[in-house]
């Protein structure tokens, strides 16, 4: 196999596992960004330029920002040095890993046994014009649906994340969970 593929694969696996193990949320987010860059490299290696670059723009440009903003907004105190996370109990770790290995045990032999039709030689060439024609042609409906999904999710995310102002504060939710009063005047 080509050296490039092995290098990229190594990068992806190492950074992904480091991201998932790391205790500092910011470090894990940034390491995951490295994984996404590795994956974009893999797509370029496979010859799908357009996908590689769109992966770079969407994930490294956009999603990483959303993740980092989310991490910063959910810190408990203002200047918590390390965004530490309470460690999971041993039982949970063992159960999780067991389930994962069980799934892996299912997938890998299936993959090995499957009669895959291989095509040797250089991969298919993919031009932007070809993608354009496909998107505008048979997949036009899918493009519009994805557009709607994106808009809906954007508005939904905004509504969920925006701080709830006083007036639409439901009366029954004044439980003592130290709920942030938002901008409401403190009844002195």
């Amino acid at each position: 196999m080509s050296l490039a593929f092995l290098a990229l694969a190594l990068v992806c696996v190492v950074t992904a596992s480091a991201a998932m193990i790391s205790r500092n949320l910011i470090h894990s987010a940034l390491l995951l960004v490295l994984t996404w860059i590795g994956l974009a490299g893999l797509y370029l290696w496979a010859g799908a330029d357009f996908v590689g670059f769109s992966q770079a723009i969407v994930y490294v440009g956009g999603v990483s920002m959303v993740v980092l903003f989310a991490v910063l907004l959910t810190r408990r105190q203002r200047d918590e040095p390390l965004v530490l996370i309470p460690e999971a109990g041993v039982g949970r770790v063992v159960a999780g890993l067991a389930a994962t290995f069980w799934v892996a045990a299912l997938l890998v032999p299936a993959m090995v046994v499957a009669p895959l039709v291989q095509r040797a030689g250089p991969g298919p060439t993919l031009t932007v014009k070809r993608i354009g024609e496909l998107l505008a042609g048979p997949h036009l409906v899918a493009v519009l649906v994805v557009g709607v999904i994106l808009t809906v999710s954007l508005i939904g995310a905004l509504y969920l994340a925006a701080p709830v102002t006083a007036e639409d504060q439901p009366e029954w939710d004044n439980g003592g969970t130290g709920r942030d009063r938002g901008n409401q005047e403190e009844p002195s």
């Binding site: 998932m20 496979a46 994930y59 989310a70 995310a157 969920l160 701080p163 969970t177």
Partner: protein, 102 residues
């Protein structure tokens, strides 16, 4: 071990890392990152099959494009939920998000 098998193996490894993270970790954000990783592993499969498969058909690539777009939307909504959760419960540990009320 043909190149296709190697690609599938790599995506399986990534998928399992994501799954392990989802199952083990207690922070909501890390679970979302795990899910994100699993989605990326799936995309890698599509591209692998497009590259080494019988070929002549590019729907795999198109599917990956849509999958990236939807995954971005999903990440945005997921993290909005996490922020809303944080505002309610003052913490993003998954333990706190087990009641349906609130």
């Amino acid at each position: 071990m043909s190149p296709l098998h190697l690609c599938l193996l790599l995506s399986t490894v990534l998928f399992c890392i994501g799954l392990a993270a989802v199952l083990v970790r207690t922070s909501a954000i890390l679970v979302l990152l795990g899910v994100e990783l699993m989605l990326n592993a799936a995309n890698l499969n599509f591209i692998a099959f497009w590259r080494y498969g019988p070929g002549g058909d590019d729907t795999g690539v198109i599917f990956v494009l849509f999958s990236i777009a939807v995954a971005a939307a999903e990440a945005a909504v997921g993290l909005a939920l996490v922020i809303a959760l944080h505002r309610h419960r003052r913490t993003i540990a998954l333990k706190a998000a087990n009641q349906l009320r609130g």
